[in-house]
Amino acid sequence: MSTEPFKRLMCLGCGFSYDEALGLPEHGLAPGTRWEDIPDDWVCPDCGTPKHMFEMVVIGYAYGQPQPSL
């Protein structure tokens, strides 16, 4: 298990964010899925922007966010 801190990335096409800690279970990415383990042909689920046009960000969540997915 990697000790590397989890990263957050933002889509530069629409602002959709990917958090390694949370994954995207509704899109088949389990919590803890590392960015580098996502295929290169993956695209933003909201706007179709390619994976290489995401940017790593160091930005905290607003109070009460992210809300747990139900």
């Binding site: 957050r8 629409c14 602002g15 964010s17 905290g60 969540y61």
Partner: protein
């Protein structure tokens, strides 16, 4: 020692996005409407320039050509999107708050913080082309509550002064970022000084119309410059009706810009 870059208009990304074919679900106004976009920073197809300025990721001027042209309803998160309208009319349908249908004419502008998620559609429904400048910012925090604010800049009464449109100044629209957008419409021969808030702030200066000497650099229409590590930026107006947009920001979220500078700029 201050730092500076200059982006001439011809060095920016110039795109034309048609409303037919594969883009018809994204661009409204099929089949004859089209959007033209000039981008100062990397955006969508244009990936040949600087990646941004501090938390600014998009600075572009766009024209919606043809009745019904614009962007169909699409989602955003996190980005703070500002639009400043200069000609025509922008009908803006936005889901933030309880939902809004807004109509913006010349001088009107909005700040849409997409936060935890929102959708919007932007259309030009009148016969004349719609001209706007778009500014996208990374937010201070992710998943903030979505918000929408709008205001009007009256160029008749606020001439020959640097007027803050977005930020923490009197009457400015609030934004969840350490950033201010100001506008200066001024006449030939006038001079202005813009004091930066701290040495950690920088300014991105875009000349919408006219001509200005910005410190020692002459900028003409659609030229721009970024300046940081400076205490003041001086403007000397060289043409009547010169229209300048000044974005002052804390130089944060700039890791990719520093890498770009390292790879592309030889100091």
């Amino acid at each position: 020692m201050s730092h500076q870059f200059i982006i001439r208009n011809e060095e920016r990304g110039h795109d034309m996005i048609k409303s037919d074919g594969s883009r018809s679900s994204y661009i409204a106004g099929h089949p004859d409407g089209f959007v033209t976009r000039a981008s100062s920073f990397n955006f969508h197809e244009y990936q040949g320039g600087r990646p941004g300025f501090g938390p600014v990721r998009v600075f572009g001027d766009e024209v919606f050509h043809g009745t019904g042209c614009g962007y169909n309803m699409h989602p955003h998160h996190n980005f703070v999107i500002c639009a400043f309208v200069f000609a025509g009319e922008l009908t803006h349908i936005n889901t933030a708050g309880g939902g809004t249908v807004d109509r913006l004419a010349a001088g009107d502008y909005y700040v849409f913080s997409a936060g935890s998620g929102g959708k919007h559609s932007e259309l030009s429904v009148t016969p004349e082309d719609m001209h706007a400048i778009y500014l996208w910012l990374l937010p201070k925090q992710l998943y903030l509550p979505p918000s929408y604010h709008r205001a009007h800049f009256d160029f008749r009464t606020r001439r020959n002064a640097i007027v803050q449109l977005v930020g923490d100044g009197d009457g400015a629209l609030p934004v969840d970022q350490d950033l201010r957008v100001s506008r200066l419409i001024a006449d030939s021969g006038k001079s202005f000084a813009y004091p930066l808030r701290s040495v950690s702030h920088g300014v991105y200066v875009f000349v919408r119309e006219g001509s200005v000497r910005c410190d020692t650099t002459v900028l003409n229409a659609r030229d721009s410059t970024g300046i940081w590590n400076a205490s003041t930026v001086d403007f000397e107006i060289l043409e009547d009706d010169t229209d300048v947009i000044v974005v002052e920001t804390l130089m944060i979220d700039d890791t990719i810009q520093q890498k770009w500078e390292h790879d592309h700029v030889h100091h």
